[in-house]
């Protein structure tokens, strides 16, 4: 039975903590002079990205290399996909090279699940599929919050977190919400009715999710605010009138945070549109954990690759 990481939905609290604890132990590796451990020596990791990505691809690549695995990056632009090959044929070709892990990003929701169903040997890691899930981003966000709350003597469990913006199309929000619900947290989804539909809360089958369409009401009393990227295309698809109108109502500024949730910290999965979904004074200010998120990316991906690709014998040192 091959293990995959296709989404956060369905993971238990313990499974999430296992990833986070493992990731925390890898943070230290990245701070060393020699940033490499022999853990996955002899293992092969293929990163296949059917959608452009800079930070996620780089961070998976570095993570694999720091674990001493052999990593290969295939970007769809350069591959046979452009020549009309099907997804299945492409991944079967790659599987014939016997990778231990296949990291896949794809613009279509469910593509990693489809691949996982048709591969027999490799573990599949979802590096973002359509508007569905982006589990490693959620894990690094959770790790960032865990560190932050631990430093102030608090626990990540029991917090109130809000997601502001295009929740409808956000795989980052989707994965994060499942994670926070598993940890017992309260979640608020904040945005206009077109992007935060009224029935969005029912998706998660939990009474700990609520919807707010006003930014001020939504932010009230939150411990954590996650600003989501707003894409210009949403204007042409009639989800918003225009970016200006959107940002006047929903841009997260220091002024509104200071009034509604003065103690809160702010996350942004990147890439950021400064002035659209978040102001510069927030992004660069003291409540911003954005730099820390980026730093944690490699450690989280090391943990995921390690837990999926390690050989049968247990490496107690990284066990929780």
């Amino acid at each position: 039975m091959v293990d995959h990481l296709l989404g956060i939905e369905g993971l238990s609290k313990n499974e999430i903590h296992r990833y986070l604890e493992s990731a925390q132990s890898f943070v230290e590796v990245s701070e060393r002079d020699i940033k490499k451990v022999p853990t996955l020596r002899g293992k092969t990791i293929v990163n296949i990205f059917f959608e452009p990505s800079t930070r996620t691809l780089a961070s998976f690549d570095i993570a694999g290399k720091r674990l001493s695995a052999d990593t290969i990056n295939v970007s769809a632009g350069a591959s046979s996909v452009k020549k009309g090959e099907t997804l299945l044929d492409t991944v079967r070709t790659l599987e014939s090279m016997n990778p231990d892990v296949l990291v896949i990003r794809h613009s279509e929701s469910g593509a990693p699940h489809f691949v996982a169903q048709h591969l027999s040997r490799a573990s599949v890691v979802n590096a973002g599929d359509g508007a569905h899930e982006h589990p490693t981003q959620a894990l690094l966000d959770l790790l960032t919050l865990r560190q932050h709350f631990a430093e102030s003597g608090r626990d990540i469990e029991g917090i109130k977190i809000g997601f502001v913006g295009d929740v409808r199309h956000s795989r980052v929000a989707r994965s994060n919400i499942w994670g926070h619900l598993a940890l017992g947290n309260r979640v608020r989804l904040i945005g206009p009715t077109t992007l935060v539909p009224r029935d969005l809360a029912t998706v998660f089958r939990s009474d700990r999710v609520e919807v707010a369409h006003s930014l001020q009401e939504g932010l009230d009393g939150l411990d954590v605010v996650v600003c989501l990227r707003m894409q210009l295309e949403r204007q042409d698809e009639h989800f918003i009138p225009n970016l200006d109108e959107y940002s006047k109502e929903y841009c997260v500024s220091e002024r509104v945070l200071a009034r509604c949730c003065p103690q809160s910290v702010v996350l942004h999965p990147g890439p950021m549109n400064r002035g659209t979904e978040v102001t510069g004074d927030v992004a660069d200010g003291p409540r911003s954990l954005i730099r820390r998120q980026v730093n944690n990316g490699v450690a989280v991906r090391m943990a995921v690759l390690y837990l999926l690709a390690r050989t049968a014998e247990p490496h107690e040192v990284f066990e929780p």
Binding site: G110, D129, G130, A131, H132, R171
Partner: protein, 442 residues
């Protein structure tokens, strides 16, 4: 095989919605027509007649499927007129109406005649072509309705490409008034469905798949009902899948508007949760719906709002389904599964036996103005004998279609067409295609 001498189907329970007949009767078939229906034993004056035993079985009019895709001409690797017509009779269907989304589209007498010629060679089910509403089904220019009707088309449809231009739809309805033929409409407002590949709901938000909201279907049903009212033309609503759509049709019928509708078996038996694992075999158009809509469809079936069951038989090759969900082709096979699935619904008590027969036979015939769908004496002998207790498995080897895209493959079925007669010809015998030109013998 031709029944060259009179044949008696004896001992079965005749169920015929058109004549209201339900009970034990023997049926005499002579010269391709139903010559007599009498109480058991009353037909003893025909000692020379061949006998088909139907004890414990249902004798119903040959079933009619108003909505199938036979893929020929143009996509013969998915299905041909022959394989489709053979799958039809194996499934108990003696007539199938084939949609014009062939390549080229059926917008000319040449294509219609080609399909009919292929059907004649196949010698299985009757194939009744549906012509296009617009040239190349592009919604820009009316198709030549008289030419198509003379060549043999029984209705018109642009199939999966809904007629977006209401003005064109109006003129099409007005023109077809002269022919007395219905327009069969796939109801979808593309500006609302927006490329959605599953029902828009909390589940689509969870899966991150683009949603197709039910209202995209409802607004087009409402539009076409109003156009039918305005023009007096006949509209047939394809595969209605929403509770609201059924309600709109119910009200239109109460208002006396010429509207009929069909429901597809998969919309009754499968719900939207089936797509949770991104299995492309559950990708349909319109998409599978939640429970509330399914209940609405059943209400429409019970109260008579729904006129017909139509399978939307849509063969697709394996490769076109073995892709990302949003890129997969839509639809499933239906011809060999419709009848057994409905027998199952009957035995579960979800639908009465009589209503089932009406939805598969007389209802579709009335919707398209066909003379078949009944066992009245004098009508052509299109007859299906159903063994309602026959247990069988829908194994891949049972699939007569060239494609095998069905989520029901492997399902244990109860009920099957055991004998099928088309115009008196015995085309399915003991559940298998009759081959050669053997005499009917006991």
């Amino acid at each position: 095989m031709t029944l060259t001498r009179p044949t008696i189907i004896q001992g079965g329970t005749v169920i015929d919605a058109a004549s209201g007949r339900e009970g034990l009767f023997d049926v005499l078939v002579e010269d391709g027509r139903i010559a007599a229906i009498e109480k058991p034993g009353q037909l003893s004056s025909h000692p020379e007649a061949a006998r088909i035993g139907a004890e414990g079985q249902w004798v119903i009019p040959g079933c009619i499927d108003l909505h199938v895709h036979l893929r020929e001409p143009g996509e013969e690797w998915k299905e041909t007129v022959r394989t489709g017509a053979e799958a039809a009779v194996l499934g108990g269907f003696t007539s199938v109406c084939c949609m014009p989304n062939t390549k080229p589209a059926n917008d000319s007498a040449e294509v219609t005649r080609f399909i009919l010629e292929r059907a004649r060679e196949a010698g299985a089910a009757r194939v009744l072509p549906i012509g296009a509403i617009s040239m190349e089904r592009k919604g820009k220019q009316l198709a030549p309705y008289n030419e198509l009707a003379k060549a043999g088309c029984v209705a018109f449809s642009d199939d999966g490409d809904p007629v977006a231009d209401a003005g064109l739809m109006r003129r099409a309805l007005e023109w077809c008034l002269m022919l007395g033929l219905p327009l069969s409409c796939h109801e979808e407002d593309r500006s609302l469905s927006c490329g959605g590949c599953m029902n828009e709901s909390p589940l689509s938000l969870r899966l991150g798949l683009k949603g197709f909201p039910g209202v995209a279907e409802d607004v087009m049903i409402a539009r076409d009902i109003e156009l039918a009212r305005f023009t007096g033309g006949r509209v047939h609503i394809c595969h209605v899948s929403t509770a609201r759509g059924v309600e709109l049709i119910r009200r239109a019928k109460n208002d006396g508007i010429s509207v009929t509708c069909e429901v597809a078996p998969h919309h009754l038996l499968l719900d939207e949760s089936c797509v949770s694992g991104y299995d492309t075999h559950y990708k349909m158009m319109p998409p599978l719906k939640p429970h509330e809509d399914i209940e609405g469809l059943f209400r429409g079936i019970e109260d008579g709002t729904v006129d017909a069951i139509a399978s939307d038989h849509a063969p697709h090759d394996r490769d076109s389904k073995l892709v990302e969900f949003s890129r997969a082709t839509v639809g499933i096979l239906g011809l060999q599964t419709s009848l057994p699935l409905f027998v199952e619904l009957c035995s579960q008590g979800r639908i009465s036996r009589r209503r089932m027969v009406e939805l598969l036979c007389y209802g579709p015939a009335k919707s398209f103005g066909l003379s078949s769908g009944t066992l009245r004496v004098g009508s052509e002998a299109d007859i299906t004998v159903v063994d309602p207790l026959k247990k069988w498995s829908f194994a891949p080897s049972e699939v007569r279609s060239k494609s095998k895209n069905s989520p029901f493959i492997g399902r244990e079925m109860t009920g099957r067409a055991s004998q099928v007669l088309v115009g008196g010809r015995w085309v399915v015998r003991d559940g298998a295609l009759a081959s050669g030109n053997k005499e009917v013998s006991e």
